[in-house]
Symmetry: none
Subunit: 352 residues, 2 copies
């Protein structure tokens, strides 16, 4: 199969409409349909493409909830409108098994899961850059044909995403840890907080808001996702409870410290947002006066010392006459830079 | 007691130094001490106040970890330097009991907990606006004297926070739900993710980053906090596990849907965030080459035009030889700055 020029999308929700916007922006002719005609109308108005009736396409993306994938795929394959097909659902082993059981052609189909989303759903929340720099997981199985695999790889790239190949089972086990159990715990924490009085609830800080942000998600969609990956989610929950309970059962500050420390280590392994980018940088901070010319003097000094600044971060104090500027520099230059800055009269430090 | 004009702070970490910055900005004379002299040096350099040796103050804030409160308070009371005292620790019943057991004067002391924080600790992360619009929980007990209570109320207001009165026990029960258990779950999720391969970990989305943001916290501090509130945290964990386990034990999509729906309801009851007001700045972007001297030239030009830079943000393009530097400037100077930058040969834009 050559370059994709005509793509159909079944399901004009957040993911389907965002993919349509991205593909249209990349010059692909896009057709959309949805059981909810209002979603299609909105997506078309946003420039995502045109309504899909009986146009033939090279590839179709089935962007419907996980339990609806098999039926939609079967109907689509029977229509003969799309040479190859993929899906976007956030569980992979279940829909593949359901599609096979339903009698779908498993050569023309390749499972996929673009890892992107927002709390807001529907075409109204769609954005052309939703997938930009994000993984588009591709989960071929033995029977997957080359044409279907190549098509979904092109879709990912046209949407600005990073194609990542992994088996359906490994995908589901990883997502239990990275998405499905976090969703349940966020919901449980928010539900438990719902038992507090307004006065007590007012004590919630930014940390609680961050931890529970996912709790705004759609109950029916998540019931499907969890049901589709229940064994893996239950296994992840068991691992978690097996660490949590002993840490709380007795006076065990070492166990809590280890647990938090293991969390530090896990977090530190998360790749940077746009793919892994190993930094060999060291951050150097310097206290600066909030007055014109201060930054010019600082950067002139840094340039004179031939230190290349790789990144800049400002620590702001509102209404304060001072701020801190932090500069990412080559690790081997950091100590020297702190010394030179201090020598030139600045207060400077290495950020640990 | 009249208006506070002299305040001492024991512990120049994030909370102590931020309170010092806020109080100094409000015109209070602030003195700081810390076992770590480097923290004091940094805080003083940031304009948080001056070093505390033997100056007499009206009120002292003991801003040390929970288990260190009683000893520091006793030492402080014996020195006679501060008429009244408060603390800032995130568990309340335990430190109060420990202070009483240690023989502290419980009339001069009032427990408190400003609900604000960051993942980064230390004076280096301090900000004058850390408490702005946030609750400053005040937990008087029967023996608390009026002078101590009034002083801590003034401290809260001078820091721009909202004083909230609640008993130590109710505070601890609410914080178990809103902070302590969320912290443990964030750490547990991040630790479990740490068992994944790099390839699998690359599938983490923004949701996982949000849920686990707290997992960057300090293990020793959190071991103390959890230990100080273990019964309440264990009770909250039991409630959570009692809902989670049945929802995962069998084919129970209704139970999962209810759980997520209860989470929606809990989230919807969170009060609107009252934080620092948005700045009236306009961001101006400029494309910069990644080479020494580029930033010096840019900031020299900006200074020459007498434009004050309020904030800096770097937009990185991976593997690209250039990046975008975005500068926050007074809104009325933005268009002029873009024109001047373009006139000087830069590619510049107003960020919408």
């Amino acid at each position: 199969m050559g370059t994709l020029s005509r793509v159909g999308i079944v399901g004009a929700g957040l993911i389907g409409s965002s993919a349509a916007l991205a593909l249209s922006a990349a010059g692909v002719e896009v057709f959309l349909r949805d059981r909810d005609s209002e979603q299609v109308r909105l997506a078309v108005a946003l420039g995502a493409g045109t309504e899909w009736t009986d146009q033939r396409v090279q590839h179709a993306i089935v962007a419907v909830p996980p339990t609806a994938v098999a039926a939609e795929l079967l109907e689509l394959q029977r229509s003969g409108l799309a040479e190859t097909q993929s899906d976007v659902s956030s569980v992979k082993a279940g829909p593949v098994a359901a599609a096979r059981d339903a009698g779908c052609d498993m050569t023309a189909f390749c499972g996929a899961h673009p890892i992107a989303g927002r709390e807001r759903g529907g075409a109204v929340a769609a954005r052309a850059d939703l997938f930009s720099g994000r993984p588009w997981v591709i989960t071929p199985i033995e029977s997957t044909g080359r044409a279907a695999l190549t098509a979904v790889e092109q879709i990912a790239e046209l949407c600005g995403a990073l194609p990542v190949h992994i088996s359906p089972d490994r995908h589901d086990a990883a997502m239990a840890v990275l998405s499905h159990l976090p969703q349940l715990l966020a919901s449980l924490l928010a539900a438990d907080a719902g038992l507090l009085s307004d006065e007590e609830l007012a004590l919630a800080g930014q940390g609680f808001r961050d931890v529970t942000r996912l709790a705004d998600s759609d109950p029916q969609l998540w019931a499907q996702i969890i049901e589709g990956n229940r064994n893996e989610v239950a296994a992840a929950a068991r691992r978690l409870i097996e660490v949590l309970q002993p840490a709380l059962a007795t006076d065990a500050p070492e166990a809590v410290a280890r647990l938090v420390s293991d969390g530090n280590a896990g977090r530190s392994r998360l790749p940077d947002k746009i793919g892994p980018r190993p930094h060999a940088w060291q951050w150097v901070g310097v206290v600066v006066q909030d007055r014109p010319g201060e930054l010019a003097n600082l950067f002139a000094a840094v340039a004179e010392w031939n230190v290349n600044v790789e990144d800049i971060h400002v620590e702001h104090s509102r209404n304060a006459p001072f701020g801190r500027l932090e500069l990412a520099v080559a690790a081997e230059r950091a100590t020297e830079l702190v010394e030179r800055l201090e020598g030139a009269g600045w207060v400077a430090y290495r950020r640990s």
